[in-house]
Amino acid sequence: MEQLTPKAAAERLLKRVEKPGRYTGGEFGQIIKDKSQVKARFAFCFPDTYEIGMSNLGVRILYGAINQHPDFWCERAYAPWIDMEEQLRKYNIPLYAHESGDALRDFDFVGFTLQYELCYTNVLNVLDLAGIPLLSSQRGEDMPIVIGGGPCTYNAEPVADFFDVFSIGEGEEALPEIMRLYVNMKEAGTYTRAAFLHEAAKLDGFYVPSLYDVSYNEDGTVKAYTPRYDDIPTRITKRIIRDMDKAYYPDKFVMPYIETVHDRIILETYRGCIRGCRFCQAGMVYRPIREKSVETLDRQARALYESTGYDEISLSSLSISDYSKIDGLCDTLLQWTDAAKVNLSLPSMRLDSFTKELMDKISTVRTAGLTFAPEAGTQRLRDAINKNVCEEDLLRACRVAFEAGKNQVKLYFMLGLPTETDEDIEGIAVLAKHVVDTYYDVYRGVKGRKAPTVTISVSCFIPKPFTAFQWEAQNTLPRLLEKQQYLRSKINDPKIKYNYHDAEVCRLEAVFARGDRRLSKALALAHEKGVRFDSWEEFFNYNQWMAILDQCGLDPSFYADREFGEDEILPWDIIDCGVSKAFLLRERHNAYQSTTNRNCAEQCTNCGANKLGGERTWCSRSL
């Protein structure tokens, strides 16, 4: 074979694969630097397809934040689809980064964003395709530092053996910091992998799993995490950006040629969530709330419009209507977006805040149906999960939509929530029926109207770390399947469309969400057996996974459908996300009483996250 960069070699394969645009790189807005001027190179890998990875806001932010530094170069990489993987393996071409086309193993850092548990096997496959040893302990001095970040790192124990270090919390400042440490140690001649990881463990917000020994009790629960050095923290506190107005935000995006999942301007309005739903991890781990000002958002939106030419701006957050100046923001943006023929979309709207005025301003309403998330079928259960919406809110929101001419509504629910009874399940069907009735109420006596479609999309409850329900058992698989069928039997209106998630997928997710380090063994074995793309229906194989866990002597029930003890040391206790365990416990017990709690805008509930500080936050007692 001639001497080609891995990417140039891969180009010869592009006529043989589907969607070759996934592998070409060369997009407008990509950042190319002179290798000789660069002191540390970072390959940012998204362990799923290009279309999904290119849509991720976190990657876009961190790509820009690292590349702001003239002597750092951040590039992108994605998991190749199976047809490309087959070709790369056949011709022995190592996985490469899109910008330079250089092999990942030649980088200083290879970073993975861990967005969902079922991407773990893809991480291993990417490492393998890159020719990087899977286990941190097997990597030699010439190998990149493998670093992980993203929501799953709040309990990254199942992948602890494969990562050299995790970045806990927000990475805009943290990643350049650890890269600077690397460069400084290289220049001072003090760099070895071991010395570097020891130093990294002393930086705020970095967790080096190999420097903490885990011991277990006889019943399999965690006994202790023991740091190997006295000078590294016993718990790792997550990093946050204190002032979102001063935080780095990209003023341009890499512009994909092929269609991606979110092919539009994403404008992050604030971090955190005031709500405190008891099942929701995002609502806890991103606290405290920190808003950007309307002026900052307007400036960022204008800059991105000029540099991208996109015709849609999506206002991103966990719950957009909770942004304190949402009306002012919409009005400010609408001053120029209408003339520029740019649509605004507000994707995460709470149904209690959905008004006609707001709806008239946004484009999602013009084009698609509406989606709301009541999550549970009865008021009692909605109170238990602290959702704080009631049936009247939903019916009023639907009425607004129907009056505007919509005839499709989608509703999200969860099955298997703690304290759920048959009545709660039946309540989902009843609620959907009431929505159908509302439609006919609006159009009573009007001839020639289309029939409405109410789609109910039902997932299964997954207990997640750092939630009030982190101790709860997931329903067993047979029980979940039974509940899904029970709900089906209660739906007898053809205008109600019933979709439900694969319970087997939800169970495996629960295993990894609350898993410990022993699961690394199962992941390694799964990789050996060729498992990847678990989050893709066509590749998910539950029975194979059960066999793998069994072969490793691991019991999925221990992780998924066991109630964890309140005094038990949890695998994720090594991480401090700001919100205290005492608060989560209080909330757990509030749930049993079906007692709701206030949201941050109303009253501080002492969750503990305000100890991290923050500007433009709701917290009353910020430091």
Binding site: R12, L14, R16, P20, T24, F28, Y257, S307, T308, G309
Partner: protein, 226 residues
Amino acid sequence: MVQPIPVRAKFFKVGMLQYISHLDLVRTMTRNLVRAKIPAWYSQGFNPRLKLTFSLPLSIGTQSECEFFDIRLTEPMAFDEIKRRINETLTDEMQVVDVYTSEKKFSDIGWAEYELKLTSPNLPENAAESLANLYTNPLVLTKRSKTGDKDVDIAPFIDLRECVQTAEGVTIRALLSADSANYLNPEYLIKAADQKLGIRFDDPFSEYYTIMRREVYLSDRVTVFR
């Protein structure tokens, strides 16, 4: 409102961008024009769209030195300025080479000239001669179309201009029919070489080919389309 001013741009699309499909090109070019702040005319109506029309779609795996798109301007702008602005929104592998007032319609296009470079150490002896023979005699292939597979003699759609042996393999230069009723994808020349002469491209590192669209002509095969 003043009458929108029609403008044509000629551009090339080469290198890695040969793997970007026609549909993806159309979608991204709209954004490029917005980014370039070209005063482009939008269709009127409930959902206004930037009016943008392309000439012959290019299939994935074919590069081109002569692609065209038409837009309309809501206010005058110097052609050089349009070219400069658009090019700033593009990468090296796709650049506008000319902007002008068009005189011909896309439907006037009759033929397109392609250069195919076949690289392989395993070509049969006298490959150039055999290929030239193949492309200048009746050549029946199964052609896929919307209405199903059909056996078609593609020879009338091929006007072979050159077929020569090179150090690496064979270079073919041919005009292929490009009117909308009889558009011949240059890949059929490769397919014919495989089916009739057993010329295969199995090993991507020693046996491969490139296709470049070089020029576009009217139906007289002489007048260059612009």
